[in-house]
Amino acid sequence: MEILFYIASIVAVVSTIMVITRLNAVHALLYLVVSLLAVALIFFIIGAPFIAVLEVIIYAGAIMVLFLFVVMMLNLGKIAVEQERRWLSPGIWIGPAILSLILLLELIFMFAHSSQAIQATMISPKEVGVTLFGPYLLGVELAAMLLLASIVGAYHLSKRKKKAKHRFMEETAE
């Protein structure tokens, strides 16, 4: 089973690298979905099947589809790819890569001191639910409010004023 974990890790990292280097948004999204699926698999392996499934349903199945939906609506095509190519000159990668590498090395160096192993104890959805609606009830309420706010915000943001054309009058309708 450990080998599965490492394979999934490699898949996740590689596909994430692909995400940030793709020129075509749809391709990048697909790689991101692959990455998320790999991470979901990792979650499953280390004993969080509930979260693994949620990762697939919500992240890969809903959020990413929403992304795809928007990309398709914009329907950018070849021009966008050309533009990306122009923007992504090789030189631009150097600075961020070095900075991120420093950060990563610092992180790894920090983690390197601990040498405890994860014992994959399966945590059932029931346990998660009991804890979620027990000590974390307030957090659930807050998350609900956040979601409500985002629904309202998203609705308001994506509302577009359309021009209603008529032979005699021209007025803006909601």
Binding site: M1, E2, F5, S9, A12, V13, T16, V19, I20, A25, A28, L32, S35, I42, I45, I46, A48, F50, I51, L54, I58, Y59, A62, L66, F67, V70, M73, L74, L76, A80, Q83, E84, W87, G95, P96, L99, S100, L104, L107, I108, F111, Q116, A117, I118, Q119, A120, I123, V128, T131, L132, Y136, G139, A143, S150, G153, A154, Y155, H156, L157, R160
Partner: protein
């Protein structure tokens, strides 16, 4: 029964996070920027899961649930913004939306 070194999980999460960070710093297209942010959020959540798994407690998963809710909200609003920006500027170049600077 499997046994994976704790630091490996954290390093994986850190690597994913840093990759998202690179994307954030490099890309100009706001869709890619949003995607990079998603990668980073997911990586942060993964770190919680690893930590939770380390102690065998469900709390890490709870935190991931909250992160999930937060990221869903963020994506909804973010995509709405992207649509508006595209309609207004006919481009997805994040640098065009710099009117509020200084």
């Amino acid at each position: 029964m499997i046994s994976i070194p704790m630091e490996f999980g954290l390093i994986l999460a850190g690597t994913l996070f840093v990759l998202g960070l690179i994307g954030l710093m490099v890309r100009r297209n706001i869709i890619f920027v949003l995607m990079s942010i998603e990668i980073m959020i997911n990586a942060a959540g993964a770190a919680f899961i690893f930590a939770g798994a380390k102690w065998g407690e469900p709390d890490g998963q709870i935190m991931f649930l909250f992160i999930l809710a937060m990221s869903a909200a963020e994506v909804a609003v973010g995509l709405g913004l992207i649509l508006q920006i595209y309609h207004k500027f006919q481009t997805l170049d994040g640098d065009t939306v710099s009117k509020m600077r200084g």
